[in-house]
């Protein structure tokens, strides 16, 4: 296991091992029962194919701007800017707001009830900001620690919970056909495996497709084991209805010690996802900046962005956004925008491969269609689809407007080096 693989895995598993993902996993396994294992397997296969496609060496024609370069080439400069800005900024603002509150309550209710939940959320946010103010490199290294602690905590609970299940494995009910062919399970699994579109947050984290797929496999294995333990210890209906299914399972396995271990997993998972999303947003902005100027964002400019994210999240927490049901819509919308970005990246990769005549198979286009179907399905099967779709459209429109204005005011044009890569300058 190389340092590079650890750094890449730390970034890719940030969302997958977050408390939010564990809630989605717990609720889904509760609703679909053992049938969800098939969805998880399908999701892992599709995500691995997409990851292998996006990290294909043939596609690295834009070494300094891998994500934005491909996307701008395929769908145009302003749409590419709008897509990346909307998805990354919504993710970095709304997911941390929700998850920091979750971590705050976990600490307040399990570890020290005299310490206010919101104060703990603020402390965690400040710690992440300090990491980014020190350096991006440090933030990436500490990310491995956050993800490592979460994995260890989950594995301890799995190891404690699994032996009790072994005698009953033969009686585990087989999934019914309606569950197998339900698209919801597969699309939710695609949502759970997001994160592999993160590209090279630091120079040391150079990892080919095999490393990225390896990280996904680790995440998939943890999901499958945790799902099995959850289903074996807590009834499906209870898991489906709970707002904190992972906490229920941990308490059922090891009592108060289980709750404590899960609290550590929730806190480190929250730190991991907040840090990981800061890195994802800054990496995308850096790649975007390279496309318009020979020089990428300076370290100080990245620090300013991290301060801005933290200030916005802090304001949202202070304004009580966490106590509003709208936050769930914003989080759901941000995740759908992330799926949409992956769909567009698959399209861009497929288009690039066709140009290079290196892939006769329409794999990229099929993956793009599947991810688009997931976005549409997940957007239209919620309680208030209109509000969710409106949120996504507003986010994309604002990002497109800001991008156009920025290009107009600054008169920026694409970096000639990028144009050369596109074959426009010979």
């Amino acid at each position: 296991m190389t340092v590079s693989f650890l750094l890449v895995s730390g970034c890719i598993l940030a969302w997958m091992l977050s408390p939010e993902a564990l809630i989605i996993l717990g609720n889904s396994i509760g609703v679909a029962g053992a049938g969800f294992f098939l969805s998880l397997g399908g999701g892992l296969v599709v995500s691995s194919l997409a990851a292998a496609l996006l990290h294909k060496p043939n596609l690295n024609s834009y070494p300094d701007s891998p994500t934005f370069g491909k996307l701008a080439d395929a769908i145009g400069v302003v749409p590419a800017m709008a897509m990346l800005l909307a998805s990354r900024l919504c993710l970095v603002l709304f997911l941390p707001t929700g998850m920091l509150v979750t971590a705050g309550f976990a600490f307040n209710e399990t570890v020290w009830y005299r310490f206010p939940a919101f104060a703990f959320s603020a402390v965690l946010l400040a710690c992440i900001l300090v990491l980014h103010l020190i350096s991006r490199r440090i933030a990436v290294m500490v990310q491995v620690f956050f993800v490592g602690v979460t994995v260890v905590c989950l594995l301890v609970l799995i190891a404690a919970g699994l032996p009790a299940l072994l005698p009953g494995l033969s009686t585990l009910s087989l999934p019914v056909l309606s569950v197998i062919f339900s698209p919801t399970g597969l699309f939710i699994a695609l949502l759970l495996f997001l994160g592999y579109d993160q590209t090279r947050p630091v120079e040391e984290a150079k990892q080919g497709a095999a490393g990225v797929v390896g990280a996904l496999m680790i995440g998939g294995a943890v999901y499958a084991l945790w799902a099995a333990v959850s289903l074996g210890h807590v009834p499906g209906e209870t898991l489906a209805a709970s707002t904190l299914p992972h906490v229920l399972v941990a308490r059922e396995i090891l009592g108060h010690s289980g709750s404590m271990i899960m609290t550590i997993a929730v806190i480190s998972g929250t730190c991991g996802v907040v840090n990981g999303l800061f890195l994802l947003a800054n990496t995308s902005l850096r790649h975007m900046s390279v496309a318009f100027s020979p020089r990428p964002l300076s370290a100080n400019q990245e620090r300013v962005f991290s301060v801005l994210y933290s200030a916005s999240i802090g304001l949202a927490l202070a304004a009580g956004l966490a106590g509003s049901s709208q936050l769930e819509t914003f989080i759901h919308g941000s995740l759908l925008l992330w799926l949409l970005t992956v769909a567009m990246l698959c399209y861009a990769a497929a288009r690039r491969l066709r140009k290079l005549k290196r892939s006769p198979l329409p794999l990229g286009y099929s993956l793009c269609a599947l991810y688009l179907a997931a976005v549409l399905w997940l957007a239209t099967t919620v309680d208030e689809p209109g509000v969710l779709i409106m949120f996504c459209l507003v986010a994309l429109s604002i990002a497109a407007l800001l991008s156009s204005l920025w290009l107009l005011v600054t008169g920026r044009r694409l970096n000639p080096r990028l144009l050369y890569d596109q074959g426009e300058i010979q």
């Binding site: 929700g98 509150v101 979750t102 705050g104 309550f105 976990a106 209710e109 399990t110 707002t243 904190l244 906490v247 956004l321 966490a322 106590g323 509003s324 049901s325 709208q326 936050l327 769930e328």
Partner: protein, 90 residues
């Protein structure tokens, strides 16, 4: 004249602030031990006023508590006047 109007408005605002505080002071506070003693009382209803993540992220949920959406307090109308309503918000 203008300054007089401003002064009157300020006085009104300050009075309103204190009147609101006084009316709020008439609502009693119940500590957790008292609530625990009365938990099985027939005319006691606990209204869980927590919204969004304040509720979903908390493992502390009072059994039998009634939840309501947003600021829609119309749920209160369903109970007879002699009911003791306990609002739980944190």
């Amino acid at each position: 004249m203008k300054s007089m109007k401003r002064l009157l408005l300020w006085t009104l605002a300050i009075n309103l602030f204190f009147v609101a505080s006084l009316s709020a002071a008439t609502v009693g506070l119940m500590d957790k031990d008292t609530l625990l003693e009365q938990l099985d009382a027939e005319n006691l209803v606990i209204l869980d006023a927590r919204q969004g993540r304040d509720w979903t992220a908390s493992t502390f949920k009072i059994k039998g508590a009634v939840r309501f959406e947003g600021r829609d307090f119309s749920v209160v109308d369903a109970y007879p006047p002699e009911t003791t309503l306990v609002l739980y918000c944190a």
